[in-house]
C-alpha cells in the first residue's frame, strides 16, 4: 500500500494481520497446539515400553471410577474453599488499612507485598518448614503462651493449614489490586456520608464494599484459579502427605505424568481440571450477572 496524505504510514489490507502475527504465531505454537495435543494424548494410553494406544475416553472413565483423582479433587476443593475467602478478607482489610494516608505507609505497602514476589521458592519453603516442625518457632511461641504444640505436618488438617498459611502470607498481589481500586473511590462519597452521620464501619459496608464488587469478583476468580492449580507448596512442603491430605490435583497430574509415566491419564486429568474451572467461572459470571455485555 502506497503512502499518501490519507494513509501516511501505508496501512494496507494485511497490515493488521502482520502486526498481530507474532502473537498469533506464539499463541498457536505455545498454547493452542499443546492444548490440542494434550486433548489427543488424553485419549491414549502409554505402556511400559513407551508404546501408545488409542483408548477413547477410557482415561476419563478411570478418573471418575474413584481413587486418587477423586480424592485429590476433594482435597483441592477443600483447600480452595478455605484459602480463597481467607485471602480475599485478609487482603481487603489490609488494603483498607494501607490506603490510609499516613507517614511511612509506603514502607508497609512494600513490606506486605514482598512475600507475594517470593512465591513458593525453595528458600521460602525451607523457612516455612522449620517454622512449623515440632521444634519450630511457631510451636515454641505457642508453648510460651501455654498452648500445647500442634502437629502441623503429622496431622492431615495441620498439613493443609500450613499450606493455606503459606499462600495466605502471599496475599500481596490481591492486596495491590484492592489498593488501586480503593484509590479510585471518590473521597467525596465518604465526606458526604460523614456529613450524613455515617461511621467508618458503616461507610465500609455501604460505600467501599459495593463499589469494590467488580474488583472482589476479579480477585475471587484469580485466587480461585491459583488455588485449583496449586502445586508448588504441597510438592515441596508435604509431597501430598500425610495420608494424601495435601495431595492436590496439580500433584496428581504431576505424579501421573512424570512419576508413573501415565501420559494419557495425566492429560485427561488436566482437561477435567480445565473444564471444571471453566464451568465454575462461567457459573460465577452468570450468577453475578456479568454475562452478555454490560454488567447488570
Amino acid at each position: 500500500m502506497k503512502r499518501n496524505y490519507r494513509n501516511p504510514v501505508g496501512i494496507g489490507k494485511y497490515t493488521g494481520l502482520l502486526l498481530t502475527a507474532p502473537f498469533i504465531i506464539g499463541f498457536s505454537v505455545f498454547t493452542l497446539c499443546p492444548f490440542i495435543i494434550s486433548f489427543v494424548l488424553g485419549l491414549t494410553e502409554t505402556g511400559l515400553g513407551g508404546q501408545t494406544e488409542f483408548v477413547g475416553f477410557d482415561n476419563y472413565r478411570e478418573l471418575f471410577s474413584g481413587g486418587e483423582f477423586v480424592n485429590s479433587a476433594l482435597v483441592t476443593l477443600r483447600y480452595a474453599a478455605v484459602l480463597v475467602p481467607l485471602k480475599l478478607i485478609v487482603s481487603l482489610l489490609t488494603a483498607v488499612l494501607l490506603s490510609l494516608e499516613i507517614k511511612g505507609i509506603g514502607f508497609f505497602r512494600t513490606a506486605f507485598y514482598i512475600p507475594s514476589i517470593l512465591g513458593a521458592n525453595l528458600s521460602v519453603v525451607i523457612m516455612w518448614q522449620y517454622l512449623f516442625t515440632s521444634g519450630g518457632l511457631v510451636n515454641r511461641m505457642l508453648g510460651i503462651l501455654g498452648i500445647s504444640p500442634i502437629s502441623w505436618y503429622g496431622e492431615p488438617s495441620g498439613a493443609l493449614a500450613v499450606i493455606v498459611l503459606l499462600r495466605l502470607w502471599e496475599f500481596g498481589s490481591t492486596m495491590i489490586i484492592f489498593l488501586n481500586a480503593l484509590k479510585d473511590i471518590p473521597p467525596d462519597l465518604y465526606n458526604a456520608a460523614k456529613v450524613d452521620g455515617c461511621g467508618g464501619i458503616s461507610a465500609f459496608f455501604r460505600i467501599t464494599l459495593p463499589l469494590l464488587r467488580s474488583t472482589i469478583f476479579i480477585n475471587l476468580i484469580l485466587a480461585l484459579i491459583a488455588a485449583i492449580q496449586e502445586f508448588n507448596a504441597p510438592y515441596i512442603l508435604t509431597n501430598g502427605g500425610p495420608m494424601k491430605s495435601t495431595y492436590t490435583l496439580g500433584l496428581f497430574i504431576y505424579d501421573e505424568m512424570f512419576v508413573y509415566g501415565n501420559v494419557g491419564l495425566a492429560n485427561a486429568a488436566s482437561w477435567l481440571m480445565f473444564a471444571a474451572l471453566a464451568v465454575l467461572i462461567a457459573v460465577m459470571y452468570a450468577v453475578s450477572g456479568r454475562t452478555g455485555g454490560e454488567r447488570k
Binding site: 503429622g154 512442603l237 512419576v259 508413573y260
Partner: protein
C-alpha cells in the same frame, strides 16, 4: 552393584551403651535402651526412599525364603506374607526402634533425613541406606562417627533375604546402526581400568571384577561403601526385581505402611488391599 545396609552413629550408640544389632530380635530390643535418651536407634521412611517397606521385605524374605517379586514381575509374597511384613514394621514402631510416620513428619516435615536436625544432633542414631549413597549421611557428622553395621540375621545363621541391584545399566538399542562400536564403548565404561578409576564408586561398586580390582588398587573403594559391599559379597543376596522398583508399586507399599502407622487400617486390611493392588497392577502391565 549396590545394596542397602545399616549404618549407625557410633557416638550415640556408645553414649547409650548399646551394641549394634546383629539379629532382628536385637534390633527390636534396642528401643528400650534408647527410650531414656529420647532418641531412636534407627530411622525408616515412607517417602521416595521407601526404606520402611524395604526392610520389612528383607525380614519376610529371610523368614520365609520367598522373594517379594520375581525378575519377570510375579508377586512372590502371599497376602499373609505381606501382613507379616506390615506386622514387623508396626512392631518396630511399637518398640520405639523407629519414629512413627506422624512423629517423623512433625520433626522433619518433608526434609531428607540427612538434612534433618534430628539426625545431625544424634537423636536418630541409625540409617538404612544404599552403600553407594551413604556419603551424604557421613558428611553431616564428624569424620568416622558413622559406622557400618552387620546385616541382620535370625540368630540361627540365616542371613538371607538381603537385596542388591545394579546401580546403573547400559543397553544397546535394537535399531542401533553401529552395535559393535556401541558395545566397545560400553566395554570401556564397564571394564577399562582407566575409566574405572575416573568413575570411582559414582555408579556403586563395579560389578566387573576388572574394574573393581583397578579401583581397589587405586584406593578408589574404601570406607563405608567398601565395607558394605564386602559384607554383601558374603551373603546369599537377592537381586531386586525391576518391578519392585516401579514408582506405582513403591507408592502402593508406602501407602500401606503409612495407613498401618496412622492406624487407619489394620495390618490385615492393609495387607489385603496391598496384595490386591499389586496383583491387579502387575496383571495390567502384562497385558
Amino acid at each position: 552393584m549396590s545394596g542397602r545396609g545399616l549404618f549407625y552413629n557410633s557416638q550415640v550408640y556408645a553414649g547409650v551403651g548399646a551394641e549394634y544389632p546383629t539379629t532382628w530380635q536385637e534390633l527390636l530390643a534396642l528401643g528400650d535402651k534408647f527410650k531414656g535418651d529420647e532418641s531412636y536407634p534407627l530411622d525408616l521412611d515412607v517417602q521416595s526412599g521407601g526404606t520402611a517397606w524395604y526392610l520389612a521385605v528383607v525380614y519376610v524374605q529371610q523368614l520365609t525364603g520367598k522373594t517379594f517379586m520375581s525378575m519377570d514381575g510375579e508377586l512372590g509374597f502371599t497376602e499373609a506374607d505381606i501382613k507379616t511384613a506390615l506386622d514387623f514394621y508396626k512392631s518396630l514402631e511399637e518398640n520405639e526402634v523407629i519414629r512413627t510416620v506422624r512423629e517423623r513428619s512433625d520433626s522433619d516435615g518433608n526434609s531428607a533425613l540427612y538434612q534433618s536436625a534430628q539426625f545431625i544432633n544424634g537423636n536418630i542414631a541409625g540409617v538404612f541406606e544404599w552403600g553407594s549413597a551413604v556419603g551424604k549421611y557421613e558428611a553431616v557428622l564428624d569424620e568416622g562417627v558413622l559406622e557400618c553395621g552387620k546385616f541382620l540375621s535370625d540368630g540361627n545363621g540365616n542371613s538371607s533375604g538381603w537385596m542388591i541391584k545394579p546401580s546403573l545399566m547400559y543397553a544397546i538399542s535394537g535399531t542401533c546402526i553401529y552395535p559393535d562400536e556401541a558395545a566397545a564403548f560400553m566395554d570401556f565404561l564397564l571394564n577399562d581400568e582407566e575409566c574405572a578409576v575416573i568413575l570411582g564408586t559414582s555408579r556403586g561398586i563395579p560389578a566387573s571384577s576388572y574394574a573393581r580390582e583397578a579401583l581397589e588398587r587405586s584406593g578408589g573403594i574404601e570406607g563405608l561403601p567398601k565395607r558394605n559391599a564386602d559384607m554383601l559379597d558374603e551373603l546369599d543376596t537377592i537381586t531386586i526385581s525391576p518391578y519392585m522398583e516401579l514408582s506405582r508399586v513403591k507408592e502402593f507399599c508406602n501407602s500401606a505402611v503409612e495407613q498401618v502407622s496412622y492406624g487407619t487400617k489394620t495390618t490385615s486390611e492393609a495387607a489385603a488391599e496391598l496384595f490386591d493392588q499389586i496383583t491387579k497392577y502387575l496383571e495390567k502391565l502384562k497385558k
